[in-house]
């Protein structure tokens, strides 16, 4: 008969059983509070859509201005005069968030994608070495929840 360490002893079986079920129940209930419903078995997507437009808050002649980010990219010079290009899609590969200025499907719902977008903005501004100009990155998001307009959301990530 095959022997295996995975043959739990009769004493361990109820412990394993209860521990596993308790973990699953906790994860299921916690998932309802999580914006992207992670570990929640929410199998079928809603039919919501969103459109991201990116903007930068930049220093210009001592004042802050909001400028649009064309095609997700911009160029600046660092203090030594070297030119750098920053491209949103170079850092954000996740397709839902990499698509700009076009409506796309909000997999796992709008809350999930807005939550992920805020994280992506925060991540991007942490990786702007050499860009002395950008103060913050702003995403203007148009949302459609299951076919109905659900309003406009503005997300912002300031440089650390």
């Amino acid at each position: 008969m095959p022997r295996s360490l995975l043959n739990l002893s009769p004493r361990l079986r109820p412990v394993f059983f209860c521990a596993y079920l308790a973990t699953q129940c906790v994860l299921l209930f916690r998932a309802q509070k999580s914006p992207d419903l992670v570990f929640g078995f929410q199998m079928f997507n809603a039919t919501s859509d969103f459109k991201i437009s990116l903007f930068r808050k930049v220093k210009h002649r001592g004042r802050a201005r909001i400028v649009p980010v064309q095609d997700g990219a911009w160029e600046t010079n660092d203090p030594s005069g070297t030119r750098h290009t920053y491209r949103w899609q170079d850092r954000v590969h996740y397709t839902r968030l990499a698509t700009l200025n076009r409506f796309g499907h909000a997999a796992y719902g709008l809350d999930a994608q807005l939550f992920r977008l805020q994280a992506a903005l925060d991540d991007f501004v942490r990786h702007l070495a050499g860009d002395e100009e950008t103060l913050a990155l702003i995403a203007e998001v148009d949302t459609l929840k299951n076919g109905r307009e659900a309003g406009h959301v503005r997300l912002q990530a300031d440089r650390p």
Binding site: R13, M43, N146
Partner: protein, 374 residues
Amino acid sequence: MSGLGGTYQRLFGEERDALVLGVLRVSIGALLFLNGMRLVLEFMHSGYFGDYFHMPLIPEPWLPGPTGYALLLGLQAIAALCAFVGIWPREGLLTASSLGLYFLLCDRLQYHNNRYALLLLAFLLAFTPCDRSLLLVRGRQHTLPREQRIAPTFARRLFQIQVSLIYLGSTGGKLLDADWRSGQVLFMRYARAAEQFTNQGHQLPAWVLAIFTSVLFASIAAKAAICSELFIALGIWVPRVRRLALWLGVVFHISIELTANVELFSWVMLAAYFAFVVPEVRERRFEFARGNARAERLARFVALLDWCARFERHPQSSTDAAAFYVTNREGRRASGALGMAQLAEAIPLLFPLWLPLALYAKLTSKRVLTASSA
């Protein structure tokens, strides 16, 4: 023994035939391998996930480096392959599923419910005696003799509960969402599908278009989907309706696979249904007329597709009336349409045909009765 003691003993002390668990292991092992290969291809195509935007659920220092990740991906694929072919299969399942769960924790952007479900089911399967049959690496000797297959199967119960939890989680999400309950989500989905179909140059009949873009139809479909999932989640625990619940599940997943992009979800759940097959084998009988070419072809077909070893096959003298007879677990011997229905209820690939065949058999037998009484 008290009722509670009996339940405890049944849950934790039960020892059953583990042959079907081998079928489950081969199915889940194959899906686990495909899931692992997807990650390998993504790594080769897009590079290390940590080099661009990712969202770890664990502290960043716990993430593997690029080389470590590549090695772990390789290990996961090998472990899944071992589970599939039967080399340390349980250890293979545990390694591949644990690594997969770790990868999900490394980046929640990689999280998809179907992947998570597969990994959890593979993890639980590792604690069942799924290493006693279909050890493909052993060739013709792939299955141990019956007395060596009898083993504690308490983790199979946990596996079954996990399947129910997946459906309950999914139903709960829909019930909590007003747009799902009302049918608005499905209404939008159908409308888009119709639009896409038309954009591709196909012409839908006006009445089909009218149905699929009707609010009432979407509302009914939403309620039906929610009720179906709830029925599958709970019905699989009630012996009287289990077969119906599983049949509904099969139809539900086939329709999802045909209409939506859900990665491996449908296959994972269909494979998981093997956990609900009665573990005992050869409790049914298939008799076929020796010398009858069609009956012998059917017998070969049954031998080939009877993965769960449901049937004891017996040739019989061709003087008997019918070309074949099927005797089910309850001892009901039937031929013709009812016999085919009894075959379909036990052969996985024919299972989607079980209910239509059973209904057809019932209908025709009623007609025969009516005609004879007239």
